[in-house]
Symmetry: C3
Subunit: 347 residues, 3 copies
């Protein structure tokens, strides 16, 4: 096996380039772990990916156009590094985590392409476990079940989107609005998306509200999300809160609340959360608790351990989520639990 | 979301590398737009990609072998950045735009792999709209309809090809010849390809002729292309011309002619073309006009707007082409039109 | 076609990065050739890839954590550059050659992810033709035929693996052990893998033994591999030896022996090998001879030529292996032969 170590850089080529202020950056994360999940009276043990942060590979760049204006691009794909696959949709590398081109200036940012929907962010930012690994409380899109194409199309990200972001210099006030085309012929609105997120982040305080509506074939089939997240960084402890409501296209509405906490301990942090998920007009609810510790070996490399337990009610049979390991369902109304140990390396 | 910005470059590793004259370059284009297409009595609006230049991601490199000789490689894949997909053939990133390794010297270049066929180039070089977006006149392979596997295999690019290119130092004279293996067992010739392109480009003048033949199962099923392109850069205006003849494996022959013009206006350029497509022994012909403007914000970033209209005759029902948006067909003998606005960023 | 040559490197971004000891390297190989294979009374001619080294594209990096400890990642995918495809499993780029994250220190290395199985290495290291092109004697996994899922899952690489490697400072003594999860529910062992490789490499001597067992649904369905490889570099000549035994899940056991030789000739090397494959309790055995020459134009670029011939016995109908060209089978008990010429460029 040849092991040439030529770095991807030509100094002379670079020096001679016209756009000296420009940069292209390769970046990524490789996160691998081992998990054991018990559910439905049985268990499974194996390797997971993305237990702390989503494994990914991406390319992004900034071109300074002068006058405070810049052009930017971002291409980012998922990695399933326990099996070497590069995609959640077909086994190979795509750029479905994000594929955008932007114009950025004092006016803010206009962004075109496939991107996260505004309502996704509160779930990952204000959950101590983000939307990764067995500890995550809110697997958006899965919360209310897969009730409609509209939900599948826009729960986390949307194709064909145009977004506007407020500039970063508004004293902590932040905002974004996204419109995405359903691309139907003849004025049919199915999958047309509109969403926004507004908030404030300065000093120890961070709080955001977000709302979105994805058109279904009928008004009753619309997919709607409304959520709120907040955190207060008191130094020795950082409490968090997510409140989330999601109505899928089949009429299932779920209301969720998740208080959480982050406690710095030397180079590490203890994470804990408790989530309640209440399906309206149903007794098939479920709760989840999660407890974990992340040890930062360096800024880029961390070791982590997580424990989580789901308590189902009625005929609900949820288990703990993960990437890379197929968990059995819990018994109806039964419990599921899991432990996960892993290493996250970013570059 | 972690946002480490480590650039892909190890200075020490680079300085210590044996081949100091070598370089590997990452390059790409992210081109996104919004288009509205009207055809068949209805319309569709949505996001497109590659409206001005094909979105792509690639890696290429040159190793100086001394004595004027170099080894080169080129790996380039398509991006469908409105949806984050990386391929036209399966949703993920492949390198089917070009995957070649070359030996280059004073004798010219020998190139092996998947590459553009010689007959493709005149269509993209001498059409003011290239082969991108709603303005392109000649969607090669689609011109005569998909009549044979031979056509599909070699209309734009071919697998399993060996090419020879004349060196660049022949006073403006240029030439290339390509042979590609059909890879059949036992001397069967189907999909065996042979094509060439010859021309001249110096000062204001550029003109090329190209011919190719891809073997069908029978002589009647051969796929043949013959075309000519020319341009004259008079400074304030650059007229262009493409003449193209294509016979697919089902015996359909189309003759096309497309005069065009490019008019520089400050940092931008106005583009216009008129194309006539004549199917032999048929009244189902069609014409196309296209008008556009490209505004170069920088060398790498451009904004563009294009209008195009197709006029069908007989029972022809063509619409304007694009990437990323599914257009309805025109009514038989009816018209189709489109507008497209976008941004092209290259890196 | 835009041809900007901006290298992927931002000097200022790099200089400002926190982890100055870190590096990320893009690497790859593009290997293309032309082969003609005769078998079964017919022949096929066409373009191959990976005739000398496997075409690939990868990203890897090292982060120095201090105290002799480092974090490393490795993402590597196959290229089928004769057709531009990026994967053996679906046409696009994945990272199924290797996707790992490691912690490396004075204690050795702990590696998680998809990686080569220990029993693969002797076949590629001690065969003068490696496991590439028409000359390779041992197409592991294909040797005993595809008898079980266990074999497919772990013959060359395994998903979900944890490996430990001895440190490099043991006076030439080397060792690795790998465990891989079958990831079955409820204690079922199918596809659970355990393997190791031990050896010595110092001065002119190199020798390794490896063993693995992949659990089948029953003990009889276990897939087991045992092999030994050695070489002695006498300067003017380097003899090699591989002894290999493989039992697939259908009970087919094959014993193989392959003496080989490498003879340096100026900037090139002559390669030759003779392999005998003996299926136990069967007369359908086969032998193979291979002869080739590699001419190193530079450290990174080589030209190669190979001739190989398979002699089948009983009803065996093996042909010579290659990537990118579909060979007919040999006639039962007949012969197959091939010639291959190509260029290998690494970066």
């Amino acid at each position: 096996m040849k092991k040439s170590l030529l770095a991807l850089a030509a100094l002379t080529a670079f020096a001679g380039a016209a756009s000296a202020q420009s940069s292209v950056t390769l970046f990524g994360i490789v996160d691998a772990g081992v998990a054991r999940i018990s559910a439905g009276g049985t268990h499974v043990t194996g390797m997971t990916n993305s237990g702390y942060n989503s494994s990914r590979l991406g390319f992004r760049g900034v071109e300074d156009l002068g006058g405070g204006l810049s052009a930017q691009f971002w291409l980012e794909g998922q990695l399933f590094n326990d099996s070497g696959d590069g995609s959640s949709t077909g086994g190979s590398l795509d750029f479905r985590r994000r594929s955008t081109v932007s114009l950025v200036g004092n006016f803010g940012e206009i962004r075109l392409g496939r991107d996260y929907t505004p309502t996704f962010w509160n779930l990952t930012v204000y959950d101590p476990f983000g939307t990764n690994g067995i500890g995550q409380a809110m697997t958006i899109g899965a919360i209310a079940g897969s009730g409609s194409a509209a939900q599948t199309a826009t729960a986390v990200r949307s194709n064909n989107s145009i977004s506007y972001f407020l500039p970063g210099s508004l004293g902590g006030f932040q905002g974004q609005v996204m419109y995405a085309f359903g691309e139907n012929t003849g004025g049919i609105k199915t999958n047309n998306y509109l969403g926004f997120r507004l908030g404030y982040a300065a000093g120890p305080i961070s709080a955001h509200v977000a709302y979105s509506k994805t058109e279904g074939a009928t008004d009753a089939a619309d997919y709607k999300v409304l959520n709120f997240g907040a955190s207060f960084d008191a130094g020795v402890v950082k409490p968090t809160l997510v409140i989330h409501q999601e109505k899928n296209g089949a009429g299932v509405k779920v209301q969720s609340i998740e208080p959480g906490i982050l406690v710095p301990v030397g180079p590490g942090v203890i994470r804990a959360s408790y989530a309640r998920h209440d399906i309206k007009n149903s007794d098939n609810d479920w709760n989840k608790i999660a407890l974990g510790y992340v040890h930062n070996v360096s800024k880029r490399t961390a070791l982590y351990a997580t424990y989580a337990r789901v308590s189902n009610k009625g005929t609900q049979n949820r288990t703990v989520a993960n990437n890379g390991l197929t968990s059995p369902n819990a018994s109806p109304g039964g419990n599921a639990s899991g432990v996960e140990f892993g290493v996250r390396h970013s570059f």
